[in-house]
């Protein structure tokens, strides 16, 4: 049985079908990249899985259990970990406090509510130790007392991954984790994700536009287009398929190069011929 699966998952907004009967299974120990043109429904698909959006039809199953009636927070507790492009960090708390909150959330019962005075002290050290462990693993150990709002962007994204690690989910969901990062910062996040792959009991879902990232990290690619699943397979095969090459990568089948010459003309007159703008 697969760790995570969606069955005929569909959502409609008015007359528009944003996600169309997507059936897909995600096995433990794999990283699946989800690609597709803008507006294909990738983020909407994620929203359906994590519970931010209610499905019009179909199911989301974690270890065979139907998650459909669970709220997003219950789905997180069930083992779904979704990264939200920085909105799940607390800017006015320190790095350490953020991670400790996440670690605390995984502890059952009274520890989560912090009402038992004795356990607060004894477990505080345990929580802090665990939080420290995670911070060291993502190389944020030295910044543990910095306010998150003061961290540079790249470190905030690292912290986001650390937060997910602290929650110890069974499923990791990343939505363009290296967006806006340059060639120095992106590899850091990608390394972290690569390390997550080492745990064969988890599965990772990655929405991504950068093909080099996909080729490097993904065991499997699924392609969404107009809300439907149109391709599913090994990275090399999917990337080489004609539909992906043309509609997504913009590589013309005629000459195999990116659309240089065939770009539509703007009809823009060269400078000298235009009248001066007022």
């Amino acid at each position: 049985m697969s760790l995570l699966a969606t069955q005929d998952l569909t959502v409609r907004f008015g007359g528009h079908v944003a996600v169309n009967a997507v059936t897909c299974a995600f096995e433990a120990g794999t990283l699946t990249a989800i690609v597709g043109p803008n507006g294909a429904g990738k983020t909407t698909y994620f929203n359906l899985i994590s519970g931010q959006l209610k499905a019009s039809a179909g199911q989301v199953m974690l270890d065979g259990h139907d998650l459909s009636r669970l709220s997003p927070s219950k789905r997180t507790r069930a083992g779904l970990g979704r990264a939200f492009q920085l909105t799940n960090l607390f800017p006015r708390l320190t790095v350490l406090e953020n991670i400790r909150l996440a670690v605390q959330a995984t502890r059952p019962g009274r520890h989560r509510h912090g009402l038992n005075l004795w356990s607060i002290w004894s477990d505080h050290r345990e929580l802090t130790a665990r939080a420290d462990e995670i911070l060291v693993a993502v190389a944020l150990g030295e910044k543990e007392n910095e306010l998150v709002a003061n961290l540079p962007h790249g470190d905030q994204r690292k912290l986001e991954v650390a937060l997910l690690m602290a929650l110890e989910p069974r499923v990791f969901m990343f939505d363009e984790p290296t967006a806006g990062m340059n060639a120095v910062e992106a590899p850091v996040i990608l390394n972290l994700i690569r390390k997550l792959k080492e745990d064969r009991t988890k599965t990772i879902l990655l929405v991504e536009h950068k093909m080099d990232v996909v080729r490097e990290l993904a065991d499997r690619i699924i392609v969404l287009h107009n809300g439907a699943l149109v391709a599913d397979g090994e990275p090399a095969d999917v990337i080489a398929s004609p539909i992906v090459q043309e509609a997504y990568l913009g590589i013309s089948p005629r000459d195999g190069t990116a659309q240089d010459g065939s770009a539509p003309s703007s009809g823009l007159a060269p400078r000298a011929a235009r009248s001066e703008a007022p």
């Binding site: 340059n182 060639a183 536009h209 997504y248 990568l249 913009g250 770009a263 703008a277």
Partner: protein
């Protein structure tokens, strides 16, 4: 007519208690595409916002086409025929795509007055803009909003385009279209100042490059020179152009 369309000299910007720009010197030559590079937090977005007058330079000077715009209010700077695409896109979510575009087309009093040919060109580059023309812009996906943001900047001819990370979240085919669009704009004489991490922009379009770190420009020169100097590339950016 000065060779540089836009010049910054010794620009400092403070935001509240934070001193973000520590004396930025930047020259943007006419008719060329200048790339502003640097890691996150280096001050690139702050520089763009200071140029547009959204934040005030506490020291230094900014001049555009020979006139000093350091203390000029934002609408007037835009009125000098400068288009700005901010990092967060600035899309009006409750307005339709058409209304967003109408606002950007300053010369048009209503939608019928928008330049048809220009619009057709934009539709061919960014199909989503045509597809969702009468829909609220808030319903667009992240990448589609990005397309709309850039479309707004190019709906009318401008002297200078200041663009902050336009390719974030765009599918490769759309990125190709955008690079082509910028190439055509450059060919028609438009000057572009671009913050962008995607290396294809630099390779295919970059004429000049300025690299920022810690609120100052640490390297400035031609893209060609940088492309030939692998050592500097690595030390500055870890890139290989």
């Amino acid at each position: 007519m000065t060779a540089d369309l836009l010049t910054l000299r010794g620009v400092h910007t403070h935001i509240g208690a934070y001193h973000i720009l520590h004396g930025v010197d930047l020259s943007v030559p006419r008719g060329q595409l200048t790339m502003l590079l640097g890691r996150n937090g280096a001050g690139k977005t702050t520089t763009l916002r200071t140029i547009m007058g959204l934040w005030h330079a506490s020291k230094g000077s900014i001049s555009f086409d020979g006139r000093d715009i350091t203390a000029t209010p934002t609408p007037r700077i835009a009125g000098l025929n400068i288009a700005y695409v901010p990092e967060n896109m600035g899309i009006f979510a409750d307005l339709t795509v058409k209304e967003n575009m109408l606002l950007a087309a300053r010369q048009a009093k209503h939608a019928g007055q928008i330049d048809d040919e220009r619009l057709k060109w934009i539709f061919s580059l960014f199909p989503a803009v045509e597809k969702f023309w009468n829909h609220p812009a808030g319903k667009l996906s992240g990448g589609q909003k990005q397309m709309l943001a850039v479309s707004r900047a190019i709906i009318e001819p401008r002297e200078l385009l200041i663009i902050d990370e336009p390719s974030k979240g765009l599918a490769p085919v759309i990125i190709n279209n955008m690079i082509d669009a910028f190439a055509q704009l450059k060919a028609s004489g438009v000057t572009i100042l671009l913050v962008e991490q995607n290396i294809n922009f630099a390779k295919r379009l970059g004429d000049t490059v300025a690299v920022m770190d810690n609120g100052v420009v640490v390297h400035a020169g031609s893209m060609q020179a940088l492309a030939e100097d692998e050592e500097t590339q690595h030390s500055l950016l870890g890139l290989a152009i």
